[in-house]
Symmetry: C2
Subunit: 107 residues, 2 copies
DNA sequence: ATTTAATATTGCAATATTACGATAATAATA
DNA sequence: TATTATTATCGTAATATTGCAATATTAAAT
């Protein structure tokens, strides 16, 4: 017990749930929104902006990276990253499909 | 430590994250998809369909109910419920806004 | 080669989630 | 009222998430 029984669900169901999980924390929503507000890539100021400790921000960024939503060079000084457009649109479509394919003719 | 610092984020950020959290489990995706496939309301057969124990299904349904995505009468024999259209469209719009308002002109 | 600034990793504690067996509550029906 | 079928709640164990201090790594700049 304790762990999700992912194997009894389809790949699509697991993938959508996985993507939703990344959005399921306000810090990660805030991070994505902040990056998007910038003109170009984002460097440095995320910790001051969000208000969580640096290791915590780093972990959240890692969660976002793991589903491919961030691109950039991740090593060294002046790390700069931004949202991966292709992956972003892919997830947007996945959520949109999910919401659109639901049948609402009931009750 | 351990609990999310929700107070440092906006209401909108917390609400979207909360909605995403409900979608962040394949069982709940499966439940929503299954209900939507039915002609009308869904009664009874969810446990057999999903493949999790009845208390577990009940808990997942409760999570979905808590953000207002299900309506129906929840007591007694032949409990019938279905997706709340108004709330569904509200969340669809919230996700759509989030994905659309992101600025992708970078890198 | 050292220093420095930025990011990542580790270790740990607190909290949350997931799952299910056992049991309780509910409401229709006999 | 007693039975029955259905759904909810309780209790508990396993696992996952969140957050941060301490530390390590990285790479540019001195």
């Amino acid at each position: 017990m304790g762990s999700s029984k992912t194997h009894i669900f389809s790949i699509q169901q697991n993938e959508l749930a996985q993507a939703a999980k990344v959005l399921a924390h306000p810090a990660r929503i805030a991070i994505l929104e902040y990056i998007s507000k910038q003109e170009g890539c984002i460097c440095n100021d995320l910790v001051d902006e969000i208000g969580l400790a640096q290791p915590t921000i780093s972990q959240h960024l890692n969660e976002i990276k793991k589903i491919g939503l961030l691109k950039g060079t991740y090593e060294g000084k002046n790390l700069c990253y931004c949202i991966d457009q292709e992956r972003w649109l892919e997830l947007q479509q996945a959520f949109n499909n999910f919401f659109s394919n639901i049948n609402l003719n009931c009750c």
